[in-house]
């Protein structure tokens, strides 16, 4: 089974250090890791660093992968292509990268399977530039899934989706993580989604790991106050599920000069 651990990862844009010393214990196949943190914390940079798009110090300890060349798939946050490709072709494109030039029956079967999984058959022969924001996001997820990765990095995959699609997509990711024994890192702003769907949480702030553990360990009142600057409570609903309830912003009292 696949396992991934981050050991002292860093990244810089020019002279500006965006990430430093990101170290985590090993995550195993089937686990969903919510990557949380305020805006500009370095979450997207961390994903790009893990995906190998940018370089930097540190090491990614990856074991048990099936195909080393395509073990990690990354779904970027913004997806605004003007390319004249249909959804179907774009998913085929994602599946074919780094593979053989010819398109075989197996490739098409993989595209069809991905389209069926995400229930986007109705838009599969529309052009990418005709899609709405939410549809683009679904297609972006399809691109990542079509690569059949061991480690899936998803940057805010549900930010443009309606409630039904959010539940659908997160449920699907939950199911696929287990079925395909993938490690899924998923950047989320909605901490309730993290509490519902993720096994672990990785709190990134100021370009480094502030905390890492189970969601219950990481997402606490004190963390929300210290890192997110909000007054919030974590309470159980009538079904026993933990929810984040935000009461307002946290105003720090400064000592008078």
């Amino acid at each position: 089974m696949v396992a991934i651990a981050l050991e002292g990862l860093g990244a810089a844009y020019g002279n500006k250090h965006v990430l430093s010393d990101i170290t985590t214990p090993a995550f195993n196949g089937g686990e969903i890791v919510a990557v949380i943190g305020p805006n500009a914390a370095g979450k997207s940079t961390l994903f790009r660093r893990i995906a190998g798009i940018i370089g930097g110090p540190g090491r990614i300890a990856l074991s048990g992968v099936r195909d080393g060349s395509r073990s990690v798939a990354y779904m970027p946050q913004d997806d605004t292509a003007t390319v004249a490709l249909t959804v179907y072709e774009s998913i085929l494109l994602a599946a074919k990268q780094g593979g053989a030039w010819r398109v075989g029956a197996g490739d098409l079967a993989r595209v069809d399977k991905t389209i069926a999984d995400l229930q986007i058959g109705d838009i599969s022969f529309r052009y990418l530039y005709e899609l709405s924001g939410g549809q683009r996001q679904l297609v972006g997820i399809a691109h990542a899934l079509a690569r059949d990765p061991d480690v899936l990095l998803m940057d805010e995959p549900t930010s443009a989706l309606d409630l039904y699609r959010q539940m659908e997509v997160l449920g699907l990711i939950r199911r696929l993580a287990e079925e395909r024994a993938m490690v899924v890192f998923i950047a989320l702003h909605d901490l309730n989604h993290a509490l519902h769907f993720a096994d672990k949480a990785l709190l990134v702030s100021g370009g480094t790991v502030q905390r890492c553990g189970t969601c219950d360990e990481v997402i606490t009142d004190a963390m929300l106050r210290d890192v997110y600057n909000v007054v919030a409570r974590i309470e159980r609903c009538s079904r026993g599920q933990r929810h984040v309830i935000v009461d307002g912003v946290f105003v720090r009292e400064h000592a008078p000069a």
Partner: protein
């Protein structure tokens, strides 16, 4: 899996196969039109021949009279075939520039690569300067190539900078065109009237300069470069999905872009060196291909090559037919045809592919 979901799965596959079939049919149609256009191009000129005459002269040259054989084999055929080669080279160069710069207005002509090649060639024509070592016979094309390459590198460097937008690159192209025109004017100021006349005629882009050896080199360049693009079809298509996306697919974005740009400079400089500046084929060809066939490079690339060749071949026919007995430089015809599309691309708005 239930029978109905199996049916849904196979519909996607079938629709895709039908799409591929339609595209292959379109490519075959383009190729057929190209053959027809080629024969008409050879038959058109001051001495008019019928299409049958042309076909007979090509298939059985020994059975026709010497004059016709010379006109068709030594004058018309090299020009007509050069139109195809140059059209292909410019169109593919333009298409790949649009792909790697993510810019609908990119082409060798609009971004100054053609102007740079002109200037490089002028340096040789005027002063005999050779920027690259090589045979004396090919100093002009080598110089054109060297300056085209430098221009391409300037564009590449600026495009890499953070915040470089579509508009930045177009403005840079305008600046480069102005710069090379000014440099060309300086060169023309210092050389004899005779050389100036030669240079002006040469910058107008005319297929009458074609010969069999030049055609052979142009074809060799195309044959060397196109397979590289074909092999990288999937990666090049991915580039148009945006850098982050392409990189997430494992494409080495910067390396692919630099490599493609250098090959594009090679493709774009050869036509300029042999037949002069021919504008807008590199802009119009790829757009026609994109509208007809989409941007999967496995189909887009041949469609771009065929449509570029067809445009220049048709332009060549027009350049010989407008005024009886006069061959207008084909560069003038392509500019007149291409300019309206350029305006359209600048002025249109709305969310769409380009």
């Amino acid at each position: 899996m239930t029978p109905s979901s199996e049916a849904i799965l196979s519909t996607g596959r079938e629709r895709y196969r039908a799409l591929v079939g339609r595209r292959l049919l379109l490519l075959a149609t383009l190729a057929l039109l190209l053959c027809v256009s080629l024969v008409i191009d050879i038959s058109t000129g001051p001495a008019r021949y019928s299409v049958l005459d042309v076909i007979r002269t090509i298939t059985t040259p020994s059975e026709v009279d010497a004059q016709r054989r010379v006109i068709i084999w030594s004058i018309r055929a090299p020009s007509a075939l050069m139109a195809l080669a140059v059209g292909m080279a410019l169109s593919v160069a333009g298409g790949q520039m649009q792909t790697i710069l993510n810019n609908p207005l990119a082409s060798p002509f609009t971004l100054g690569i053609s102007a740079g090649a002109s200037f490089g060639a002028a340096l040789t024509l005027a002063f005999g300067i050779a920027l690259l070592p090589g045979s004396v016979d090919y100093t002009v094309p080598l110089n054109a190539f060297a300056v085209a390459m430098l221009t391409a590198l300037v564009i590449h460097t600026v495009n890499l900078r953070r915040g470089a937008t579509v508009q930045t690159i177009i403005l840079l192209g305008i600046a480069l065109v102005f710069t090379f025109n000014a440099l060309l004017a300086i060169v023309q100021y210092f050389v004899s009237d005779q050389a100036v006349a030669a240079m002006i005629f040469w910058t107008m882009g005319s297929l009458t300069k074609a010969t069999w050896p030049k055609l052979a080199i142009a074809v060799a360049v195309i044959v060397a470069v196109l397979p590289i693009f074909v092999r990288q079809s999937w990666a090049l298509t991915a580039l148009r999905m945006g850098d982050a996306k392409a990189a997430s697919f494992g494409v080495r974005v910067h390396r692919l872009r630099l490599q493609t740009l250098l090959l594009v400079a090679l493709l774009a400089s050869v036509p300029v060196a042999f037949v002069g500046t021919i504008g807008f084929v590199g802009l119009v060809g790829p757009h026609i291909a994109r509208m007809m066939i989409g941007e999967d490079q496995r189909f887009f690339l041949p469609a771009t090559a065929l449509s570029g060749a067809l445009i220049l071949s048709l332009s060549s026919i027009v350049s010989k037919s407008l005024i009886s007995g006069v061959i207008i430089p084909v560069g003038i015809v392509t500019s007149l045809v291409g300019m309206p599309l350029f305006f359209y691309l600048i002025l249109r708005s709305g969310r769409q592919s380009w």
